[in-house]
């Protein structure tokens, strides 16, 4: 174990490299990569490393970067890539395919606004494009979490009871380019945590066809299997946390990270780094005697519905902060979680920090003033903070 001062992009890449080397005794590692701001540094780091039984292929597009990952994973290797924003949008078709083949490919996304008009700053709208495609989705709030999440994502995605691709998201620039201390385990520790991957459907000796046509009945059965496996992933993640803690001596973050939420009357719900700001705001308001708490949704897919229902139970007011806009609807997170609150709870959606707006504590305090004045839930609000 060593402590390194690195960016979150670097942390994701380092984590992937350790995972790559951990598969050297099996079928190795192969990644297809392509640059895009602000994920570029992650792929550059991958390209700078010598990996025993590993090959990082410089693709000609994100679509083909994922194509290469699909081929590698279908041939039984561990696979990883990174992209964001329009790169992710360009990749979507092959992301659908990766999930359909049930291949445990892990992808790091430095969340960035979709364009045009071009905008390189943080927004969750890109990774949320993949919401319904059968990818696990985990959102991190600091560099250590990014590092740990990538390792856990491999373990979770490659579990024979799960077998599906995983997204590890971090806010572009806010996290991706911020340097902070990260505990980096030794290769030997990672080897113990992450055993060689075995992809049962891989192209081997037997003549079989992966991803061929099927009739509606077979498709429904495949959807059911995928759905059930995804639902089971939350429980498996708890096992992975235990094993992680045993080997690395620290526990990776829970699917739902609560902060002073238990006795709170008002909750701030968010994803990514907004959750860190929310915790500071909670501290300030607690000092003023207000019973406020925060919940950070770290695991977005599968959606930890039971956990959220328990946390939301009996709360008076809930502010759901979205760093995204589903145009013509409201915040995506709000749309997903509002149903878990009691009918009497006032659940108000604030889309804040959209397209990279810098959300500071005073902005959140203003939103909470608005929330406390409300007698009932209103229409979702897009809040300008820039």
């Amino acid at each position: 174990m060593s402590v390194e001062l690195i960016s979150a992009n670097h942390a994701a890449a380092l984590s992937a490299i350790l995972a790559a080397r951990a598969n050297r005794t099996a079928r190795g590692f192969c990644a297809g990569v392509y640059p895009i701001t602000p994920s570029t540094e992650c792929m550059e780091y991958l390209c700078s490393q010598e990996i025993e039984k590993g090959n990082v292929i410089r693709a000609d597009s994100e679509h083909n970067a994922m194509g290469i990952c699909i081929g590698a994973s279908a041939a039984g290797a561990r696979s990883f890539t990174t992209t964001c924003s329009n790169g992710l949008a360009y990749m979507v078709e092959n992301c659908v395919a990766a999930a359909g083949y049930r291949l445990p490919i892990v992808m790091s996304v430095a969340n960035r606004t979709l364009g045009p008009p071009w905008n390189i700053w943080a927004d969750h709208g890109d990774s949320l494009l993949l919401r319904d495609l059968g990818w696990l989705q985990l959102y991190s709030a600091d560099n250590q979490e990014v590092f740990d999440t990538v390792l856990c994502a491999f373990k979770l995605a490659e579990d024979p009871r799960v077998l599906m691709p995983a997204l590890c998201c971090m806010d572009g620039f806010i996290l991706s380019h911020t340097m902070s201390q990260v505990d980096v385990p030794s290769q030997e520790q990672v080897d113990r945590f992450l055993p060689p991957v075995d992809i049962p459907q891989r192209l081997d000796k037997t003549a079989h066809t992966l991803g061929q046509m099927e009739a509606p009945h077979a498709s429904v059965m495949h959807r059911i299997q995928h759905h059930q496996a995804m639902l089971g992933a939350e429980q498996l993640y708890a096992e992975i946390q235990d094993s992680f803690a045993e080997i690395f001596g620290r526990r990776p973050a829970d699917p739902l990270v609560t902060y002073r939420a238990e006795d709170a009357e008002t909750l701030i719900v968010s994803m990514g780094t907004l959750g860190v700001t929310a915790e500071r705001v909670v501290d300030q308001l607690r000092e003023q005697g207000q019973a406020v708490g925060a919940v950070r949704v770290r695991m977005f897919r599968p959606m930890p519905d039971t956990g959220l229902s328990k946390i939301f139970a009996g709360k008076q007011r809930i502010a759901v902060l979205d760093r995204d806009v589903s145009i013509g609807f409201g915040g995506v997170l709000w749309g997903e979680v509002r149903g878990f609150a009691d009918p009497a709870t006032i659940v108000q959606n604030y889309m804040v920090g959209v397209a990279g707006g810098d959300v500071r504590p005073e902005h959140m305090l203003n939103l909470l003033v608005d929330l406390q004045q409300r007698r009932e839930s209103g229409a979702p609000q897009i809040v300008e903070v820039a």
Binding site: G28, C30, I57, N64, A77, A97, T206, A218
Partner: protein
């Protein structure tokens, strides 16, 4: 060498791989050129180990529905534009594990000339260890026969009902410009030549590209039994040059055409796709001559073939 031009690989011989690559019960149309290609590939493959990538194309439908598999080798169905990138990943992992398996792509003209062109170009530029087989029926077959950039001038398709105006894209020229180790066109009417090229390409390393003119009775509106004869007419008339290019430099013409007007006329008249579009031998002849002049220049042959 096996000589059975009339059968064109349809008979089983001792050279053939035991398990067919294209198993009985597949849903290919009668007279499909891709069926012939797969039979020839079965013979060329022998006991070599293969893995296959098939993008969206007729072969993606041929494979039958889950859980049966029509292909006698491990196969992955990729998205339309991704055959060469998925094959890149499969081949890279085979290389990492020092496996002898050969990775092949089986793609139609739409997935090669059009939507998959960028992917193909990138894999060729990286000189990935892939054998890319393009079976070219000169239309989008699965969707009912629309034009692709492989459709020849003068052919009617459902999206060019009065006949396509533009000439066919020069795919071997494009691939040769990547300086890949091997690029060749294959005539299914010349089985010895086909077999030799398939075997050479299977054993060669780096990116190999084979272009196969694949008769399509459904799209060409021709008699299923005439497919191989149509290919022969396309070769005889000079419309479909049979040649190979080594390292993007050394051009070798494999079959010397007679440039017969009669063959060209028969080729056009035996397919209803050329009827009512106004295309004639006289209209096609200049572009055929232009291409052959280019081929003679590249292959260093000064003496042109005999003309009728």
């Amino acid at each position: 060498m096996i000589k059975e031009p009339a059968l064109n690989g349809m008979a089983y011989t001792e050279q053939d791989r035991r398990d067919p690559l294209l198993r009985p019960g597949n849903s290919n149309c009668g007279g499909c050129g891709m069926s012939n290609l797969m039979q020839m590939l079965r013979r060329a493959t022998g006991e070599r180990e293969l893995k296959m990538v098939v993008p969206a194309c007729c072969a993606a439908v041929t494979s039958g529905s889950f859980p049966e598999s029509v292909f006698g080798i491990p196969t992955i169905m990729s998205t339309f534009a991704s055959a060469a990138s998925v094959a890149t990943g499969v081949a890279a992992v085979a290389q990492l594990n020092a496996e002898r398996t050969r990775v092949i792509c089986l793609a139609g003209d739409g997935g090669t000339y059009d939507i998959g062109m960028g992917t193909l170009s990138a894999a060729a530029e990286r000189n990935e260890d892939i054998l890319y087989l393009c079976y070219d029926n000169e239309i989008y077959g699965n969707t009912g026969g629309q034009r692709s950039s492989a459709t020849p001038a003068g052919a009617a398709t459902t999206s060019t009902p009065r006949g396509k105006q533009e000439i066919k894209k020069d795919i071997i020229g494009i691939m040769a410009a990547h300086r890949i180790p091997y690029a060749a066109s294959i005539s299914l009417a010349h089985s010895d030549d086909t077999l030799r090229k398939l075997q050479f390409a299977l054993d060669a390393r780096g990116f190999r590209f084979l272009h196969v003119l694949s008769p399509c009775p459904t799209g060409w509106k021709s008699e299923p039994a005439m497919g191989i004869e149509l290919v022969r007419l396309a070769v005889r008339s000079g419309l479909f040059p049979v040649f190979e290019v080594f390292d993007g430099e050394r051009y070798v013409i494999n079959v010397e055409p007679e440039f017969s007007n009669e063959a060209l006329m028969m080729y056009l008249s035996l397919q209803r796709r050329f009827r009512n579009t106004g295309v004639t031998e006289e209209i096609l002849r200049p572009s055929i001559e232009r291409y052959w002049n280019y081929l003679r220049l590249m292959s260093g042959r000064i003496v042109p073939a005999k003309r009728n």
